[in-house]
């Protein structure tokens, strides 16, 4: 009865499970989008998905490659302008969860998507902030999903593009009108949550067949484990079926050049 699945599938399924039917989720492109749509196609059919391109309550049949594929608009309840999206829907307080990916994350869940190295002499120039800086502070809470590696999980990010809990874990203290920040980080190895006091990320659940050593090996700081460390439930057959169908549909869709008139 044991199913075969990859660590990427484990990550997507686990991330999807974090969303519930009553959430209004501002979705980042890539892994968050995959997880959010998997949730919608499995246990949370009524979850409300919102993309920064202005599409409100969208139900794409294939995963969008960009944040503004036609699929998102055609399946949305309505599509608003980008200023309205950021002003009324995000800053206005209507988003329960911001779902983000990242290039670097540190022990206080600060995110770096700006650059590696020094700002004026970058070793690697990354895309930049996009919607994340304000999603992270204006959404009521933030979920993060990202692959686990020493390059990604660093003690201190090179640049705080998007605040988690700041360099000292206290960046949200006494700031008015700010969300709770990152409440869960889901990787291909484990689930991490901020310590209620210090806000340092702590491993709370290991995915099946993953060891503490695997996580220690893939983390750039002296990672802590929760006292009651549990094992993440494996994906169900249905979750895997739906995920694989979704990815197959998506790959077929994006590899064909769409040049005809509709």
């Amino acid at each position: 009865m044991s199913l075969e699945f990859t660590s990427s599938e484990m990550m997507s399924v686990t991330a999807a499970r974090a969303l519930t039917n009553d959430m209004t989720c501002f979705v980042g492109i890539g892994l968050p989008s995959e997880a959010a749509n998997l949730a919608r196609l499995t246990h949370a059919p009524d979850v409300t998905l919102i993309y920064e391109s202005g599409t409100l309550q969208t139900k794409p049949d294939v995963l969008p490659l960009s944040i503004g594929d036609g699929e998102l608009c055609e399946s949305a309840l309505t599509t608003v302008s980008v200023p309205e999206m950021f002003r009324y829907w995000l800053q206005g307080g209507h988003i329960s969860v911001g779902f983000l990916g990242t290039a670097q994350i540190d022990r206080f869940a600060n995110l770096n998507t700006t650059l590696i190295g020094d700002y004026r002499e970058p070793k690697v120039r990354l895309p930049g902030g996009g919607g994340a800086p304000e999603i992270a502070t204006n959404a009521k809470e933030v979920f993060i999903t990202v692959k686990h590696s020493k390059r990604t999980f660093v003690k201190d990010v090179d640049f705080v593009t998007t605040v988690g809990f700041g360099r000292d874990g206290k960046a949200r203290d006494n700031v008015p009108h700010i969300g709770r920040g990152p409440t869960v980080v889901i990787t291909d190895l484990c689930i991490l949550k901020p310590d209620p006091e210090t806000k340092e990320l702590v491993v709370t659940s290991l995915h099946p067949n993953v060891t503490r050593e695997d996580v220690i090996e893939a983390t750039g700081w002296d990672i802590r484990f929760a006292d009651e460390l549990v094992t993440t439930p494996a994906p169900t057959a249905r979750e895997l079926d739906v995920l694989r169908d979704l990815k197959a549909r998506t790959n077929a869709h994006h590899s064909s050049t769409q040049s005809g008139q509709q």
């Binding site: 980008v82 895309p127 502070t137």
Partner: protein, 271 residues
């Protein structure tokens, strides 16, 4: 009233070397045909503004049109890097460009404030981010009613706005449908504007609250069928996601890029 021009005439007449140019379209309706015409006319020293530089600015930066880039997310969506942008920023090829970066929320607000004729936009933003340390255009003000600290950024007021839209009627009124992004805002915020359209029609067929730009709010209109490809125009053609993926290989290498540019932009006329 908007003047109907060829794309070649519109770019020649309204975009000057050294201008601040904002070409918008949020994933949808990106004005690629206009971008290629700017490359062909070898415009130089442009300050380019766009929330997501996307392939259109990657191409223009690689072709040497840009002096400075103001942006908020500079990747190839769902694919990876913009290699021409990175090559310019990291290695100074074809020359060094200055960058000024914001978050999406700040830029969206800055366009909105530009359209509203204000000098600044106020938002609840940049809390805890390092971006204000590297962008001296981000300031903070105190609300006179509540004392709350809020971010302020200068509004965007470009010399020229360039957008692509589905259609214009013969009087020059323009309909934008689907993901409307910040297109209305950038046209209203700019001193001059060029709108390329899929077609010119007798009747826009607009619903009662549609996003329509009146002719008197636009400087020039040029017909450019397929003018957004490989981006898309809702109701006309889909996004060419395969090309977006292919671009990663084309743009990664300077020679491949230059060969592509020669064949697909310089040797082809206005799209």
């Amino acid at each position: 009233m908007a003047e109907f021009l060829s794309l070649q005439e519109a770019v020649s007449k309204h975009i000057n070397n050294g201008d601040t140019v904002a070409m918008e379209g949020f994933t949808h309706l990106i004005p690629f045909a206009a971008g290629h015409e700017i490359i062909r006319q070898e415009k130089r020293d442009l300050t380019l503004i766009r929330m997501t530089p996307d392939l259109v600015y990657d191409q223009m930066i690689g072709a040497g049109c840009a002096k400075k880039l103001i942006f908020s997310w500079g990747g190839n969506p769902g694919v990876g890097s913009l290699h021409r942008l990175r090559d310019a920023v990291e290695k100074g090829w074809p020359h060094q460009i200055e960058i000024l970066e914001h978050s999406h929320a700040a830029m969206a607000n800055a366009y909105e404030a530009g359209a509203a004729g204000l000098p600044l936009a106020v938002l609840r933003g940049y809390v805890g981010s390092d971006l204000p340390k590297v962008n001296d255009q981000i300031k903070f003000i105190e609300c006179p009613f509540t004392g709350e600290r809020l971010a302020a950024v200068p509004s965007v007021r470009p010399d020229v706005a360039v957008i692509h839209a589905q259609r214009a009627d013969r009087k020059g009124n323009v309909l934008i449908e689907g993901i409307v992004g910040i297109q209305k805002e950038v046209v209203l915020a700019a001193k001059r504007s060029i709108v390329t359209v899929e077609e010119v029609v007798d009747d826009l067929g607009a619903s009662v609250n549609a996003c329509v730009l009146p002719s008197w709010a636009i400087t020039a209109i040029a017909e450019a069928p397929k003018g957004a490809k490989p981006s898309y125009a809702l109701g006309y053609y889909d996004r060419d996601n395969a090309f977006y993926k292919d671009w990663d290989g084309i743009a990664r290498d300077r020679d491949t890029f230059q060969a592509w540019l020669k064949e697909n932009v310089f040797e082809k006329g206005a799209a």
